[in-house]
């Protein structure tokens, strides 16, 4: 995320009104083409209106198309969406192919897509079907009957052997071995 995106509206990719479940509704409801009748910057827009606009309107009866000529102003596309958003797009010096592509973009989105910073590329209303982890989950059966405070459970798991304990152990071993040696000596005598 760069600095220019700091104040951009942020959100998740969502289909409005569960669109696509049941039936699909094109989210572009109105399209206004504004252009000048003799300015060179509107050439592509005029070509589009002459050659493709009627076909476009026939193919998309759900989109109301308004054509608004105005003198010596730059050509503009204004799309209005079902969720109330409005997108303004300058088409200065665009060719008719470019305008066709821009209109296709307006038709397939549900708001100005470049005015929204996506926080994630996905979204879910049910983050975990299993539910959250709790300390009671998958507990060992031993822990069930444990009564606290218990000496066994309060000890750390990795206590190193102290020097005294080691000495004691050595001494016991020696005594055992020593005792056996004494016994064998006495038997030999």
């Amino acid at each position: 995320m760069s600095n220019s995106h700091l104040f951009l509206k942020s959100g998740f990719p969502r289909a409005p009104l569960q669109n696509g479940l049941g039936r699909y509704v094109c989210q572009l409801q109105r399209l206004t083409l504004k252009f000048c009748k003799n300015n060179g910057s509107s050439k592509g827009m005029r070509d589009f209106i002459e050659n493709h606009l009627v076909d476009f309107a026939k193919e998309n009866p759900g989109i109301v198309v308004y054509v608004k000529p105005r003198r010596h102003r730059t050509p503009v596309l204004v799309g209005e969406y079902l969720n109330g958003e409005r997108e303004w797009m300058s088409c200065r010096n665009n060719t008719q192919e470019e305008i066709t592509k821009w209109i296709d973009l307006l038709k397939t989105q549900n708001g100005n897509s470049s005015s929204l910073r996506l926080r994630k590329m996905w979204h879910t209303d049910v983050p975990s079907i299993q539910g959250p982890w709790t300390p009671f989950l998958l507990r060992s059966p031993d822990a069930q009957n444990q009564s606290y405070p218990s000496e066994q459970a309060s000890k750390p798991l990795d206590v190193p052997q102290s020097a005294t304990e080691k000495l004691l152990e050595l001494f016991k071993q020696q005594q055992l071995e020593g005792g056996q040696e004494l016994l064998t000596k006495k038997r030999a005598e």
Binding site: L17, L21, G22, Q29, P61, G62, V64, V126, F136
Partner: protein
């Protein structure tokens, strides 16, 4: 500063007279711009926040085309007069009549119906279909649960949400703008009524399924309907289904006699675990566990199969009454 400005002004003036001999346009700082803008901003602030302009007041507005496109967008073939009637609020119709009477137009011409009849019809159809759909999609949920979910789906709030996203806001003929939640909801019902009148009840049923029932998708059903006394309901359900008497048992606890006490209670019936729940005390945990058990028994927990919105319910299952 002002002395400097006037000095430059005089200098420019003398130069223009000296060099060209004729009158030349002078270019200097326009001192009227800033006070004018300040005054305009002051007036805007004094007026306060303005209401949004209705889209129908724009030059590029053709109501007939909008109505036509509205039907086409939803893949429905409406009869346009019926659709227009659906958008006509009774208050607006009365206002128009008054206006025409004042202008002296004959009474016979003004008989344009409002949408009150269509609202009643649409509301009836929507209710019947939503009930039938819930009976199909949530067969194990008891009657009271169905009633609650139906009320949620047909509440003004959720209907207005649907209506707004179908683009009725600009088309509604009403005395207020933007239209209130109630107006939006009523208009959606009127549209369902108009659809039934123009294309038959079957199409209206599909419309209700596609736009109203789909609002249930990914919703937490427990948020819509939580049983009031879950333990009692659970014992009733267990008795009905011969599952044995439900019995709460303490599974685990933590931090007894502290502020952060947590109890984990499981509900067993006939030695089988029905549901588990947590709570700050045993009673609360029992209640949560009972709700969890009910969710499992009614098949409305989070991990249930997604709703099927492609089903075509037969008309005989829909009780139109």
């Amino acid at each position: 500063m002002s002395l400097f400005r006037s000095a430059t002004g005089v200098l420019c003036l003398t130069r223009s007279i000296n060099v060209a001999g004729g009158v030349q346009p002078r270019r200097h700082i326009k001192r009227w711009v800033s006070p004018t803008l300040r005054e305009l901003a002051h007036r805007v602030q004094k007026q306060g926040p303005q209401k949004p302009e209705p889209r129908s007041g724009f030059i590029e507005w053709n109501y007939r085309s909008e109505l036509f496109a509205f039907g086409k967008r939803l893949n429905e073939e409406f009869q346009l007069p019926l659709l227009q009637t659906a958008f006509m609020q009774s208050t607006y119709a009365h206002q128009e009549q008054e206006r025409q009477r004042k202008l002296g137009i004959a009474e016979a011409d003004l008989q344009r119906g409002d949408n009150s009849e269509l609202i009643a019809k649409g509301a009836h159809i929507a209710k019947a279909y939503v009930e039938a759909y819930l009976r199909y999609a949530l067969p194990k949920v008891p009657e009271i649960g169905h009633r609650e979910i139906t009320t949620y789906l047909l509440s003004n709030e959720s209907l207005a949400h649907v209506s707004l996203h179908l683009g009725t806001k600009d088309l509604i003929l009403s005395t207020e703008y933007p239209p209130s939640e109630e107006t939006l909801a009523k208009t959606l019902q009127a549209i369902i009524g108009a659809l039934a009148d123009s294309n038959g009840v079957e199409r209206a049923f599909l419309f209700v399924r596609d736009f109203i029932c789909t609002q249930l998708n990914q919703k937490d059903l427990l948020e819509i309907w939580t049983p009031e006394q879950p333990m009692q309901l659970l014992s009733d359900v267990c008795k009905q289904r011969n599952l044995g008497e439900p019995e709460p048992r303490l599974l685990a606890d933590c931090g007894k006699n502290t502020v952060l006490a947590a109890y984990n209670v499981g509900i067993y019936a006939d030695r089988k675990l029905l549901g588990k729940g947590f709570g700050e005390n045993v009673q609360q945990a029992t209640e949560t566990a009972a709700i969890d058990a009910l969710q499992a028994l009614f098949d409305m927990h989070d991990s249930r199969r997604p709703f099927d919105f492609r089903v075509q319910l037969e008309a005989q299952h829909v009780r139109l009454g």
